[in-house]
């Protein structure tokens, strides 16, 4: 089976800083891939390369059977990619509902009442329904994180990319968010999730990848990867036997 998303020897550097170094990996349809790595390892840049806000110096990106390496971000979005941002970036002068509608009508290709109903369903799922008419700029951190998720979901994505969506949340908030993401995954949406909150990640993903200095360090079954001495040392910065 051809991979749903595949990066083939993708490289990107800003001067001396390398954010992606011969990065190759594949995600199968319906899979949930977790990505971990130290700060500055190139995780978010990897998302930027996949979504098209960065263009690679070398390599190829295929998505849903098509080479998208040179497609615009807007085009890739309409092809079924959606992402959340580590630092939430809502359209702050617009209401929560309007934020959702932009995603549903532009990226999701829906219209009129269909789009409205879809947005309401997603807002219900992401527990933002009661804030639907609040200006996005006035939301709390959890609210903004949920809005990031809402907007990504309203795009009806085939591939959902989450960037540290659990970061900065309380334990209870995190649990309910994990449940929401599990539900989304259960409906067959392919997920790539970058996260520092490892236990949240482990509850959802089927596969784990570790990157550092833009390179893939390890990839495989989540438990095995987390227990490998390499990861213990590089990612957690502790000795393997600790």
């Amino acid at each position: 089976m051809a991979a749903f998303l595949e990066l083939d020897k993708v490289s990107k550097a800003f001067g001396a800083v390398t954010v992606a170094d011969n990065l190759s990996f594949a995600v199968q349809q319906g899979e949930a891939l977790g990505v971990i790595g130290p700060n500055g390892a190139g995780k978010t840049s990897m998302f930027n390369l996949i979504t098209g806000t960065l263009s690679p110096n070398a390599g190829q990106i295929t998505f849903d059977g098509a080479d998208v390496t040179h497609n615009s971000a807007a085009k890739r979005c309409r092809a079924g990619m959606a992402r959340s941002f580590q630092v939430p970036q809502p359209f702050s002068g617009m209401t929560v509902f309007e934020n959702a509608m932009i995603a549903a009508t532009q990226a999701g290709g829906m219209h009129g009442t269909e789009a409205e109903q879809f947005c309401l369903d997603v807002l219900n799922q992401t527990e933002l329904l009661d804030r639907a008419n609040t200006l996005a700029g006035g939301l709390t951190l959890l609210g903004r994180k949920r809005l990031e998720l809402t907007r990504a979901l309203c795009a009806k994505p085939k591939l959902l990319m989450l960037d540290e969506i659990a970061g900065g949340l309380t334990e209870a908030e995190c649990r309910s968010l994990v449940q929401t993401i599990k539900d989304i995954h259960a409906r067959g949406v392919t997920i790539i999730w970058i996260e520092h909150v490892v236990h949240a990640l482990m509850a959802v993903v089927d596969k784990l990848m570790v990157i550092d200095f833009g390179r893939k360090i390890a990839e495989g079954e989540p438990r095995t990867i987390m227990d490998s001495p390499e990861v213990q040392e590089i990612y957690l910065g502790i000795a393997a036997d600790a």
Binding site: A74, C77, F85, F91, S92, E98, N99, M101, Q106, H111
Partner: protein, 287 residues
């Protein structure tokens, strides 16, 4: 009574200034583009109206149905063809390019229509007036003011009640994220310019019915438009209407004191408001 009259005439004149300013306000609001050619585009609208009335024999108000779509299409092409290329982090290129555009439009009009002042003939509409408690109020200024309110209400409705308006606001809010949401910025900007020039066409025709015009008057209309936008506060369309009215009233009151003071009084009022409230009276964009 004379002062009340000046106040009323000034308010109605403000409607015309709000029409000058609405397109400017819209373009700046959506794409942060300061369009130096805006005044000349208004004059272009007036000349297109003139051509339609002379060639087709239409009444100037009827010419709107030809000139408005024509200007809108021109706006879309202009934006996609030229202005989109100038937009970026640097605000200088769009200023320079629209300045160049201003020169080009002026000279093209000069070449086509000569420097002679022209006027559109609107027949009875130009002189018709109604008596209002001792004051004589021209039908044309009242009509212009009503159109200004209708235009601004429509723009407001588009911005806050339609999918297109949502796209405008999202793009204005955060271009990069809007792109990621599948919005094509270039197309959205094209539509914004089309809408702005549709309004500009209305402004041009109302101008052309009210006074005589020649290819050189664009600059002055641009200044009035700017002043109305700044007085009202950036990004606030109803504020723009208020700005237009304040400018219009200042001018007629100034003219009442001394005929030579008309323009000066307007500019002075603008300066005072700028000094006291640099963001205008009702700013919506806070940056």
């Amino acid at each position: 009574m004379e002062w009340v009259n000046a106040l009323l005439q000034g308010t109605l004149l403000g409607g015309l200034y709000a029409l000058f300013a609405a397109g400017l306000s819209l373009i700046f609001g959506v794409m942060r583009l300061v369009n130096i050619a805006h005044g000349d585009l208004i004059v272009l609208g007036a000349y297109l109206g003139l051509s339609v009335t002379t060639v087709l024999g239409f009444h100037p108000m009827l010419a709107l149905i030809v000139v408005v779509p024509a200007m809108a299409i021109f706006g879309y092409v202009l934006q996609r063809g030229i202005l989109n290329q100038t937009l970026g982090k640097d605000i200088l290129p769009p200023l320079l390019v629209t300045f160049g555009l201003s020169v080009i439009i002026q000279n093209a009009l000069l070449e086509t229509y000569s420097a002679d002042p022209q006027k559109m003939n609107a027949g009875a509409l130009e002189t018709a007036s109604v008596s209002l408690g001792g004051l004589s109020v021209g039908v044309l200024p009242v009509l212009t003011f009503a159109i200004a309110i209708a235009v601004i209400a429509t723009l407001q409705w588009i911005f806050y009640r339609t999918a297109l308006g949502r796209a405008f606001r999202a793009t204005s809010d955060n271009q990069e994220i809007a792109q990621l949401m599948g919005l094509n910025r270039r197309h959205i900007f094209g539509l914004a310019m089309a809408l702005a020039l549709a309004v500009t066409a209305i402004a041009g025709i109302m101008l052309g019915i009210r006074t005589s015009f020649d290819p050189s008057i664009g600059g002055g209309r641009l200044i009035f438009g700017f002043e109305a936008v700044i007085i009202g506060g950036l990004g606030n369309l109803w504020g723009t209407l208020v700005g237009g009215v304040i400018l219009g009233v200042a001018q007629t009151i100034g003219a009442k004191i001394d005929p030579g003071w008309q323009l000066l009084a307007g500019h002075l009022t603008f300066l005072v408001i700028l000094a006291v409230k640099p963001n205008g009276l009702f700013p919506r964009i806070s940056e």
